[in-house]
């Protein structure tokens, strides 16, 4: 699944650290780190909503899809 996560860029633009975001959205640093490094298998709408609210952005600012081969484990 070539979905890219741009949490780092958004955090930089908002001058926030991952710890700040973690405190703002109430999600553990470990889970946010999984999301940031693109290791997450799925994102809850509630998580996405909380992040967008905290970073004042749209889901598309955080996640983008790029053309590429499907990763192992993805449904055809």
């Amino acid at each position: 699944m070539p979905v890219r996560v741009h949490l780092d860029e958004m955090l930089y633009r908002r001058r926030m650290t991952l710890t700040d975001l973690s405190e703002a959205v109430g999600i553990t640093l470990a889970n946010l780190s999984i999301l940031k490094t693109g290791k997450a298998k799925a994102v809850r709408f509630s998580t996405l909503e909380a992040i967008c609210r905290a970073l004042d952005c749209q889901p598309g600012d955080i996640l983008t899809w790029v053309e590429g081969p499907a990763e192992e484990g993805d449904e055809e």
Binding site: I27, N31, L32, I34, L35, K39, A40, K41, A42, V43, R44, T47
Partner: protein, 174 residues
């Protein structure tokens, strides 16, 4: 999540003891079967005393041996039920009920139960033969509940497999 309930802990202990008791029963059955050959004359004499000289003593002796053999063979499918069930109880105690290994364990239990049921049918046949020979024998009835448990175990194995997959997905969900 760690389920430290005493009931599960005790259940696991009881199952571990039952595994040992089952194995001991198997050893006793094999020993009795082996002893029935050198002690054949004594066994036959005892049967003659109880059922009279007209009783088919040698037939009864062989039926008795078949019963002991069934008892010894039953140890394996019963072990296939008890040991995985104890492992499932341990995983529940550790808070990992949807461990992928549990699906395999429950499937093993299903096969074990099927084995037990098939042996039960053989026991029923043997009981009929012994009764036909004129000896006292406990009555036998097919176990409907036992047969229902077999598909239940296989269905539960699928449930556990699906649960393990869902847990896997949840672990990667943020």
């Amino acid at each position: 999540m760690r389920d430290g309930s005493r009931l599960v802990r005790w259940g696991e202990r009881v199952l571990r003891w039952l595994v040992i008791a089952n194995f001991a029963f198997g050893v006793i059955a094999v020993l009795c079967l082996a002893a029935s050959f050198p002690g054949e004359a004594m066994l036959a004499a005892q049967l003659v005393r109880k059922y009279g000289a007209g009783a088919p003593v040698m037939t009864l002796v062989w039926e008795l041996r078949a019963m002991l053999l069934l008892g010894a063979v039953a140890v394996w499918p019963i072990d296939r039920c008890l040991r995985p069930l104890a492992d499932v109880a341990r995983s529940v105690r550790r808070g990992e009920p949807f461990d992928p290994a549990n699906a395999v364990r429950v499937m093993t239990i299903g096969w074990g139960l099927l084995g037990v049921q098939l042996l039960d049918l053989a026991l029923g046949l043997l009981t009929g033969l012994i009764a036909h020979s004129g000896a006292d024998v406990a009555g036998w009835q097919p176990s409907l509940a036992g047969w229902i448990c077999v598909p239940v175990a296989f269905v539960l194995a699928r449930v556990f497999a699906a649960g393990a997959r869902m847990r896997d997905d949840l672990e990667g969900t943020v």
